[in-house]
């Protein structure tokens, strides 16, 4: 202790705090770099752990499966029937399915759903049935789900047929301790979400108890064979199912010698490259889950305390060694494991990053990455605040409050834009978005007029508030949706570090002009609207080889598709409760960008800038004098004591 105290004393004496403060921007940048580097350290040997079954009751793969032999004859017949139903209207095919599962002994019902927003209506018919467990008391249930259309917009012929054949076969078992609910929703997006919501909020004609887990079947096309199973597990808003459920599926597949992959990475997990690819794809999937389109079917269950996974059969025409019956056995075995549960899934992990089907990184190891990125904003914000309060004008509380009020006003303006976007009818949403983006570009120029006469410290404070706000949001978000926090942190990086109010604007040099160029480029590139356009251009509708030339890259953007994309985003927020993009766009990204934009605009009013710089220097001197005076006083005090 004495040693530390002495060090502390020496540190203070040598002006350590001051030099530390001047180092803060560098530290802030380093933190972001460290966060990104940590991400690449995670897939290295020794950083991750092997998965294990934490809940002993699951006993994966221990149950003998009997879905085989003549059951396949029945399955093939159902496939033929489902093929016929492909071209039948949704409400009619629901009636057919309802009759089938009713005959099997299920309590079947049709669930007609609709979502309405202004003039836009989405509707359809789900069909579902409840098999009451032979000795059960309807307090618990599990889900067997197969949507008509899968996540890749293919007709889920095999999935629906398998679900029905399995449902029929399950009636012959008497081991069920939980009711089985078979759901055939219209799609994985609105239909299934509405079904899950209605199950939990209204009394449906056929009902059961608390849903303990679920498996979504995805076996598209008319193939009877498949190449590998891909487990889809990311839910809306980045919520993940219990790791035990994924482990169960993976372990059972291994017992059955099925090839199982996650995030489409087929290679061996002995290679760093494959592990890193899985990790990065996982992060991208988690952050963009439910962004604008339908999911794979497991997503709507997240948020209702229902752990669900999608088992997607991947058909690779070159080699398809596994049969549909093996897929059925896998589903049977997973449901048998869920059936074994005494309690709700609670052991194991809810926060994890998979780096291969057998390996994962738990929250304690990966969280620092997003936290470091988030913290860099807070540190930069604190630095700007300290810098602003150095000057004489910066010491004024009135100014601080005024700047804070200004920032809150920007937030409120963004919230108002959000309301406008939220209530806009779907047909005019794209023009409204154009209008909003126009307003948000013009707005900073108007705001600039208000703050033009303010000192530099005012602007620095404004930036400080916005960065502290970003740091606050990102660190909180990183515990809920790590991937989103990390990606947003990287997106906001230029706003914090490249948008620089240069100190000597009056003198024109190469250095300052480069800085202002970088600053302006950063503002343009990090604009939410540029972001949306770029995402649409390169990810949603990737350009064909002809379109990669610059002017065509923009002119070839298909407006109807862009309209679909924007509408999809708004619908997912409205109907499915995906808060991980639209609200964040309007309430975090936009205010942050606008305040940075205002900050760059203010530099151009040179005169004020120079004045304020002078004021600042004068202020510093004054402070120095003052502090000396204090020291003197102290000394005289001591002498008096002596």
């Amino acid at each position: 202790m004495p040693l530390l105290q002495r060090l502390n004393r020496v540190f203070n004496k040598k002006g350590g705090i001051k030099s530390l403060i001047s180092l803060l921007p560098v530290i802030s940048v380093l933190l972001v770099l460290a966060g990104v580097c940590l991400l690449f350290v995670l897939p290295m040997d020794g950083q991750f752990r092997r998965t294990y079954i934490s809940e002993n009751a699951l006993l994966p793969g221990q149950a003998h499966t009997y879905f085989k032999d003549s059951e396949e004859n029945i399955l093939r017949a159902y496939r033929e029937e489902v093929k016929i139903l492909k071209d039948v209207a949704e409400s009619e095919r629901a009636v057919v399915i309802e009759k089938w599962i009713n005959d099997m002994g299920y309590k079947a019902a049709i669930h007609n759903w609709s979502f309405t927003h202004q003039d836009d209506v989405k509707s359809g018919s789900n069909v579902y049935g409840v098999l009451h467990a032979p000795r059960g008391d309807t307090t618990e249930s599990m889900i067997l789900c197969a949507p008509w259309i899968n996540g890749d917009n293919e007709f889920n012929e095999g999935g629906v047929a398998l679900a029905i054949a399995l449902a029929r076969y399950f009636t012959r078992w008497s081991v069920w301790s939980k009711d089985i609910i078979i759901v055939i929703p219209s799609d994985t997006r609105f239909g299934l979400s509405k079904w899950v919501a209605d199950y939990h909020y209204t009394s449906m004609s056929a009902s059961s108890g608390a849903i303990q887990g679920g498996v979504v079947l995805d076996f598209p096309g008319s193939y009877e064979h498949f190449s590998r199973i891909e487990v889809k597990y990311t839910g809306y808003n980045g919520q993940l199912p219990n790791l035990d459920l994924i482990n169960t599926a993976v372990l059972i597949s291994a017992h059955m010698h099925l090839n199982i992959v996650i995030h489409g990475v087929a290679g061996t997990d002995h290679e760093y490259k494959n592990r890193a690819t899985t990790l990065l794809r996982g992060i991208i999937d988690q952050s963009s889950s439910g962004l604008y389109k339908q999911g794979y079917g497991n997503e709507p269950f997240s948020g209702w305390r229902v752990d669900a996974i999608t088992l997607k059969a991947v058909m690779d025409t070159q080699s398809m060694p596994f049969t549909q019956i093996e897929y059925g056995k896998l589903v049977e075995s997973v449901l048998r494991s869920i059936n074994n549960l005494q309690e709700h899934f609670h052991q194991s992990f809810f926060f994890y990053l998979m780096i291969s089907p057998w390996q994962f990184v738990s929250i304690g190891t990966y969280l620092p990455a997003a936290m470091l990125v988030g913290a860099s904003f807070t540190i930069k914000g604190i630095y700007l605040w300290l810098k602003a309060t150095e000057s004489a004008s910066g010491k004024s509380i009135v100014e601080s409050a005024h700047a804070f009020g200004f920032f809150v006003a920007i937030l409120l303006a963004c919230a108002a834009l959000f309301t406008v976007a939220g209530s806009a009818p779907s047909s005019v949403l794209l023009p409204i978005y154009g209008l909003i983006s126009g307003i948000s570009v013009i707005l900073p120029f108007f705001l600039n007029k208000i703050v033009e006469r303010k000192s530099e410290s005012y602007i620095t404070k404004l930036r400080s508030y916005s960065l502290i706000y970003a740091g606050l949001v990102l660190t909180t978000l990183s515990t809920l949706n790590f991937s989103l926090a990390l990606i947003l942190g990287l997106l906001f990086f230029p706003l914090a570090h490249l948008v620089k109010p240069s100190k000597e604007v009056s003198e024109v040099s190469i250095k300052t002009s480069v800085a202002s160029l970088v600053s302006n480029a950063a503002i343009i590139l990090t604009s939410p609207w540029t972001g949306i356009l770029l995402y649409f251009r390169f990810i949603v509708c990737p350009p064909s080889s002809k379109e990669t030339v610059f002017p065509r890259l923009i002119t070839s953007i298909s407006v109807p598709k862009l309209d679909d994309f924007v509408n999809g985003m708004m619908w997912n927020w409205r109907a499915l409760g995906v808060w991980s993009f639209v609200p964040i766009l309007f309430l975090v990204w936009l205010p942050l960008w606008i305040s940075a934009f205002v900050a760059t605009l203010i530099q151009e009013s040179k005169v004020i800038e120079v004045e304020s710089v002078k004021n600042g220097k004068a202020g510093e001197e004054k402070v120095a004098v003052n502090s000396e005076g204090v020291e003197d006083g102290k000394k005289s005090d001591e002498s008096a004591k002596d």
Partner: protein, 596 residues
């Protein structure tokens, strides 16, 4: 309420038949289900009053003594498991009077001059019954006990100094360990008579089953005796039982040639088979379903053979099958008492095995099913671990008449309802108030649960939706049961139809609910201990440090320090000190400003 009285008077009269008799009613239900209703009644010897009974006869002495010592007037016990499918099977057997809710339910009228005394006796009673029936009835404590609910009325005339107590354990799993003591109370103890069919493996492999025990005093001018009525109602899945009988208890796929395919489908081939609905033909024997045939007549049965029932038949039957013309029965052993298209009754013969086989070409033809006069469905709504809601829908299927019901619900104390949030809505009516009366006793934390009883009127062909919100509570660590993450069971609600005639009376229960409470990670206390210990150690260290330290001005030290020649001086001093100890000790201490 008068209706209830009438039923009970009828019940009492039925029980007054002296001696012991047993009956089994077999009733095929749609979709290859079979309802088997076992009924056993017996009573003790006569005595001037119930308290004076010393000769029990065939009445089980163990129960008699418990009832006597606990000063219980009337005791009712229900054990039930499974789900009654009202849409297929119609109304519950015997108007639901003997069907329990999921788990174990007990209610009794206790004698006592004051409530406290009766309550003490009630806990004594449930503890004794707990041992007798191998059920966790001892967990019926004040938080699970309701006093004097309206829904129950005594079956025998009782004076005013009796208190009614009701308790239920929804989580209790009913199993063979409950059946064994149940059978042991019978005079033939499962060795002869229809009770020889009561094999745990078969009874508990059913879709729904309910066991009931009722102990009711019967007093006439001749004296009093204690009557006991035991009933077991089971719905068996015939096909599954047969499959178990024939194969291993696993669903091995049928050989392709034994598949029943719809050959009219154009794709039908040796590889594709669209399954037909289950075959309408079925043939089974009692011994296929219960694993054995009835051993022989129970010799202790004392039935008055001359009495006739409402059908003009001999009431002393043992086994009755309720069928339609599409069924044919064939018997092995026993004697035929009556045989019609709709029912055939048999009586057992001593030392002769009895077996009955059922055969039909049309399983969907079953004796008419009476529809329940009311339907109820209760479910949990909402998400999250803080709030929730309960929604109850009561439907009156009758197209012409309104019905009045009493709905009784007890919630555990950790479920905190807001009565202010309760809304009722009757479909098709905008401003109809269905609530006639509400009895409500709010919960007291850790002392008693919420008691809610409502008298409701539901107009014809409409449904009533009752919904209210509640808060969830975080419990103390020790209060969480094992497997806490499963959730907490909420007792079934009890719905009783109020009617003037005994035929219209009906009582039914909702299924139990699973309440998910916020549950801590049980390894957390360990982490908390570590964290708090660390914080305490740090605080103690700092405070102790400050308390024993002497504070001096920094400049003083520096002056002295400089006077000694800085670091070099310090080194020199160190060497000096080694040579001549104690010399500069005091000064050095002052400079350091530290303590040991």
């Amino acid at each position: 309420m008068t209706g209830l009285r009438i039923i009970f008077v009828c019940l009492v009269q039925a029980l007054l038949v002296c001696g012991y008799y047993e009956k089994l009613d077999l009733r095929p239900l749609p979709r290859n289900a079979l309802l088997a209703s076992f009924s056993f009644s017996l009573s003790s010897e006569l005595a001037p009053s119930v308290r004076d009974i010393t000769h029990y006869g065939i009445f089980p002495r163990s129960v008699g003594q418990i009832i006597k010592s606990a000063h219980a007037h009337e005791v009712h016990l229900r054990f039930a498991q499974g789900w009654w499918d009202a849409s297929e099977w119609g109304s519950l057997p015997e108007q639901g009077e003997f069907a329990g809710g999921t788990g174990v339910e007990v209610w009794a009228w206790m004698e006592g001059s004051e409530l406290a005394e009766a309550e003490r006796r009630w806990y004594e009673l449930v503890n004794a019954l707990s041992g007798l029936f191998c059920a966790s009835l001892n967990f019926v404590d004040s938080t699970r006990t309701t006093i004097n609910p309206l829904s129950f009325s005594p079956s025998s005339p009782s004076s005013s100094d009796k208190f009614l107590f009701h308790g239920s354990l929804p989580r209790e799993t009913v199993c063979t360990e409950n059946l064994t003591p149940f059978v042991k109370l019978l005079p033939c103890k499962g060795r002869a008579g229809i009770s020889s069919l009561l094999d745990g493996h078969k009874i508990f492999d059913s879709k729904w089953q309910s066991m009931s025990l009722d102990f009711i005093p019967e007093c006439t001018y001749r004296g009093c005796r204690l009557g006991m009525s035991q009933k077991i109602n089971v719905v068996l899945d015939v096909l599954r039982s047969l499959e178990r009988q024939n194969h291993a208890p696993v669903p091995i796929p049928r050989p392709v040639e034994r598949l029943m395919c719809d050959e009219s489908k154009q794709y039908h081939s040796s590889e594709k088979c669209f399954p037909l609905p289950t075959a309408p033909t079925v043939k089974y024997k009692i011994s296929d379903l219960f694993g054995k045939s009835v051993n022989s007549k129970c010799a202790l049965e004392q039935v008055d053979d001359t009495e006739l029932n409402e059908f003009g038949e001999n009431a002393g039957y043992n086994i009755c099958a309720h069928i339609t013309g599409a069924w044919s029965l064939s018997r092995q052993g026993g004697t035929v008492l009556s045989s019609y298209d709709t029912r055939a009754c048999f009586s057992l013969v001593e030392n002769e095995e009895f077996n009955l086989s059922f055969d039909t070409d049309n399983t969907s033809s079953v004796s008419p099913i009476s529809h329940a006069p009311v339907h109820i469905q209760r479910s949990m709504t909402g998400r999250g671990q803080q709030h929730g809601g309960i929604q109850t829908i009561i439907r009156n299927p009758s197209s012409s008449s309104d019905i009045s019901v009493i709905y009784y619900e007890v919630l555990p104390w950790y479920m905190k309802p807001y009565l202010s949030s309760m809304t009722t809505h009757v479909s098709g009516y905008s401003s109809f108030d269905p609530v006639q009366k509400i009895l409500y006793k709010p919960f007291l934390e850790r002392v008693r649960g919420t008691y809610l009883e409502m008298i409701l009127t539901i107009p014809a062909a409409s449904s009533l939706t009752i919904s209210y919100d509640f808060d969830k509570t975080l419990l103390y660590l020790a209060e969480y049961p094992p497997d806490a993450n499963r959730g907490f069971d909420v007792s079934p609600g009890i719905l009783r139809v109020i009617s003037s005639s005994p035929e219209d009376a009906y009582v039914m229960r909702t299924s139990s609910l699973l309440l998910a409470l916020p549950t801590p990670d049980f390894s957390m206390p360990y982490n908390v201990i570590i964290l708090t210990s660390t914080v305490m150690a740090l605080v103690f260290g700092t405070v102790f440090n400050i308390l024993v330290r002497r504070f001096v001005y920094e400049e003083d030290i520096e002056r002295e320090y400089r006077g000694r020649g800085g670091f070099k001086g310090r080194l020199k001093e160190l060497f000096k000190r080694k040579k001549s100890a104690n010399e500069d000790d005091k000064k050095a201490k002052k400079i350091e400003g530290t303590t040991t």
